[in-house]
Amino acid sequence: MRLWVLIGALAVAINASIAEITRNKNRGRGSMWWGIAKAGEPNNFLPMSPASLHMDPTVYATLRRKQRRLARENPGVLMAVARGANQAIAECQHQFRNRRWNCSTKNFLRGKNLFGRIVDRGCRETAFIYAITSASVTHSIARACSEGSIQSCSCDYTHQSRAPSTTRDWEWGGCSDNIGYGFKFSREFVDTGERGRNLREKMNLHNNEAGRAHVSSEMRQECKCHGMSGSCTVKTCWMRLPNFRVVGDNLKDRFDGASRVMVSNSDRVRGNGNAIVSNSASNSVHGHREGLGRRHRYNFQLKPYNPEHKPPGPKDLVYLEPSPPFCEKNPKLGILGTHGRQCNDTSIGVDGCDLMCCGRGYKTQEVTVVERCACTFHWCCEVKCQLCRIKKTVHTCL
């Protein structure tokens, strides 16, 4: 009897250590799926069939085993994830176009991280990257779901009352579950590999959750009253998936007010950020095994670094260490530096030449640019433009 227990314990220990080894080997692979953005033709996914995306070894190399399984079991999601990843990059670059760090991505190479080694640091920028990619996958999956391009996500047309509190509350007749599916899928797919064992993984998990929370909270119900002379006899409602730009803007705001954290042991129950998921019981992501342990993964409370600050909420971004300076080239961190970046000589913000060039000064050039101009509308329906050469003054950092 004792022997059996001993053997059992040994087996567990060996298993655990093997798992530890593979985990170490695969560390960081959780975010490698970002590379999917650069697989195939980035702007033109239509001619590419889902099958070819499946077979593409470059795509497969970026995915963990679990992610591959998810992709295999839910046909169609890979395209949506790829679209989401591209959307995230575009949004990130848009939000950071005027900052020293401009969310540059490097050419995708096997085994490399798309955003470079900046993600090795637990700084604000990394927090933003995690949040925006997770949000984007949620958004893109939800949209694909509503378009019907994911087979395992069927529209649930049995309308469920979302808020049973008021008397005759409105019941939505539309496809009610897409955002819930997107949310769940994003948790399964994006959070793979982030087990929340160390502080950095907790940070990633928190930021991923924050990104998703922003999408689902922006999903809003709009209503309108109808009735004789402006009364409210009939009320009709509809849903609006948020414009991803709005999500990006909100996340950028959170980036500016991100909180630096350390971990605490107290568990917590997350608030209403993911209430939408608990409501949607009908759709389930295939290959999704939700045990108690997985639930547990999201129950942690991060403590603010400065004890006087408030603990971060579910929609706040968190980071662990201050950002490195982005002024000079730093290959170790994959920072390009601001040499050669364009700046705005009249602005006093971060895009102004003083801050952008880190005091190194800038050079001013006159550049001729060819632009479309004098556009006229021709009946019907065509807009014809002329090409004009315009002289522009461009300031670039030294």
């Binding site: 702007n43 575009a90 085994g111 378009e147 309108k224 009253c225 002379s229 009709t236 662990l320």
Partner: protein, 461 residues
């Protein structure tokens, strides 16, 4: 706990330094900003749920109206039974949709029926209005604002019915029997969305069947159009005019959305009228084209709600013109209208503004029409009997002037309608502050324009 100072590096990129990716950074991905919802999203998130919900919501009403029609056209049941059935169906509908005001309506009908039997010498003209005004005032102050805002239209229709019966009776001195009276009040076809129909119309549904054989096509046409208007109001208007547009365009959008919502309700009411067995002549409630491309504001007011206009003209304007004169009668009419709509500042402000606007526009345009001897008055010339020398067919400037006045009306309508937006207040009724705020955002432009118009009129007079 992990140490904070040591950053956690991922250790699978040992060959990082060898790659010279830093040299050839390209920004190869130029993504276009997809600012607009796609058509599919519009369908998915707005059109489909809107239509689906509304159809489901209105289905019982349509079914009950069909039952009403069968009762009305059946020769086997007596008049009395028909009226009782009509009351029952009506009460069911009210209970289903606006249960909150059921008792209020019962009380209002009972009181007003009792007042019908008070001899004329004790109860003059004003006495007929008192029960309705009393009930409306009472509701305004005692009901929670959300509920009052919901049932306002229903109470208003019944109030109009009681007043019209009262005045008709004071002329003929022949009070209707209780069953017919209550059947008229609770008539399931008109109790919810209106419109007001006269007592005579209600009674005559039993006697004459004057629907042509295409009635079912007309119903379908009305229903389809009403859902088109609903979809414009909810979805298309927001989709076409972006939230970041020019403020006057936004004002136009809100006003457009409000007008479309009104057309939706009116067309639903029209199709219900036809389905309930009422004659085709009654079924015109609103004329959308005349309002969207208005000849003048007077036309808008007439076409906005034809039965209501008829009611106001017959029971308020004509009787009061004897005592109060023209301006007084106009003010009285709009005041009554505002009172019937509930004592809501926003509606009162809009209606009274409309009253002054139409009065000034009417005066100025008839003056101009006389001076230039042209068809530019507020009322359209009847083609055959145009007394003016110049009309739109023989001179371009008449046409141009009319178009200008149309543009002015559209401008005024955008200004007056913009506050019926989809803000939080739409369920409780819009407040005084909301109205003033919305108007001040536009600098009270329309009021200034009207003031200027009045000055021109005053100087020319």
């Amino acid at each position: 706990m992990d140490k904070l100072e040591v950053p956690i590096f991922y250790d699978d990129e040992p060959d990082f330094m060898e790659h010279d990716y830093l040299q050839d950074v390209e920004y190869e991905y130029e993504y276009e900003d997809v600012e607009k919802e796609t058509l599919f999203e519009l369908y998915q998130y707005c059109l489909r749920p809107t239509i689906y919900d509304t159809v489901l919501y209105l289905l019982p009403l349509f079914i009950s109206t069909i039952i009403f029609r069968l009762c009305a056209y059946s020769q086997h049941i007596s008049h009395k039974t028909f009226h009782i059935l009509s009351i029952l169906i009506g009460i069911c509908n009210i209970y289903r949709y606006v249960a909150e005001c059921l008792y209020t309506l019962l009380i209002l009908c009972t009181i007003s029926y009792v007042t019908l039997h008070i001899p004329k010498k004790y109860c003059k003209y004003v006495g007929i209005f008192l029960p309705s005004l009393f009930v409306i005032t009472y509701c305004e102050f005692s009901m929670p604002s959300i509920i009052w805002h919901k049932v306002r239209g229903v109470v208003m229709t019944v109030a109009m019915k009681t007043i019209s019966v009262g005045i008709d009776k004071s002329d003929t001195n022949n009070p209707p029997n209780i069953y017919a009276y209550m059947g008229y009040m609770f008539c399931s076809v008109t109790c919810l969305f209106g419109p007001w129909i006269s007592y005579k119309d209600y009674i005559s549904i039993r006697h004459v069947t004057n629907q042509d054989k295409w009635w079912i096509l007309h119903i379908i046409q009305y229903a389809l159009l009403s859902f088109l208007f609903l979809s414009i109001s909810n979805c298309w208007a927001q989709w076409i005019i972006n939230d970041t547009s020019w403020k006057w365009l936004l004002a136009y959008k809100d006003a457009l959305s409000f007008r479309m919502s009104h057309y939706f309700i009116s067309y639903i009411a029209s199709s219900l009228l036809l389905l309930g067995g009422f004659p085709f002549a009654l079924s015109t409630i609103v004329k959308p084209l005349q309002i969207e491309l208005p000849h003048s504001l007077v036309h808008v007011v007439i076409c906005w709600n034809v039965p209501m206009h008829f009611w106001l003209k017959t029971y308020i304007f004509r009787p009061s013109i004897k005592y109060l004169g023209k301006f007084g009668a106009v003010t009285m009419t709009y005041l009554t209208s505002a009172l019937l709509h509930g004592l809501n500042f926003q509606l009162a402000a809009v209606l009274l503004s409309l009253g002054f606007y139409t009065y000034i526009e009417f005066q100025l345009r008839s003056l101009l029409a006389n001076i230039f001897d042209a068809c530019i008055a507020s009322k359209k010339c009847i083609k055959a009997k145009c007394t003016h020398t110049y009309n739109t067919h023989n001179s371009w400037w008449v046409f141009l002037t009319n178009v200008m006045f149309s543009g002015l009306s559209i401008f005024h309508l955008a200004y007056l309608g913009l506050m019926f937006d989809t803000s939080e207040l739409q369920e409780t009724g819009y407040s005084y502050i909301h109205t003033i705020e919305k108007w001040s955002q536009l600098g009270f432009a329309s009021h200034w324009v009207v003031f200027a118009t009045y000055c021109i009129y005053f100087l020319m007079r």
